[in-house]
Assembly symmetry: C3
Homo-oligomer: 78 residues x 3
């Protein structure tokens, strides 16, 4: 089965499609000096754009892992 | 390909089935004040229940990631 | 759909193949007292061997997560 990749660099691709499943690279906010709420919104915006480009959307997310610096940021991230 | 979801909230589903693969949400112990051994047993119990409900079992696990607070807890978790 | 496993212990298998996708267990360097560069090279060597044994190679990697102790190690790991 072949793999379709988009936004590929030497190191990785942001979008990887294989056998009906899409794998995205991890996304971080462009500006990591702003608060957790803005960083979360920025991540979601980037993820929405990648989903759209891959022909999918948030309704089709199967699994994701979120890393935050401190559990003190949890409420605002959520 | 369609996705079957169970135990869905606004934020996530505990069980997500797509293309012959099941994706579970992360599980934590109900009581996080008890020791690592009890917390591990509680997690396994919850995971067994989700596997059963999804029509699978521990013999069919493909991949899992375990997060522990300190490597000092590793031996008892294992 | 059946699962093919290789290098199985009571706890896990290093290679798990299901429905055209291969899942590997996490790899760490054999010697964790050497620098991050050597540890990274050792991990890559072990991953290459597992990929080869599973009938795949680096060109077919879909997703991976890298854990490092400190972001100070990032440049040399990369």
């Amino acid at each position: 089965m072949s793999i379709i990749r988009k936004h590929s660099s030497e190191r990785m691709s942001k979008i990887n499609i294989h056998n009906g499943t899409i794998y995205f690279s991890g996304q971080v906010a462009n500006d990591v000096t702003v608060g957790i709420k803005s960083q979360t919104q920025d991540c979601l915006k980037k993820i929405d754009a990648l989903l759209l480009e891959a022909g999918s959307d948030r309704d089709n997310i199967l699994s994701t892992t979120i890393f935050i610096r401190s559990m003190a940021d949890f409420a605002l991230m959520n």
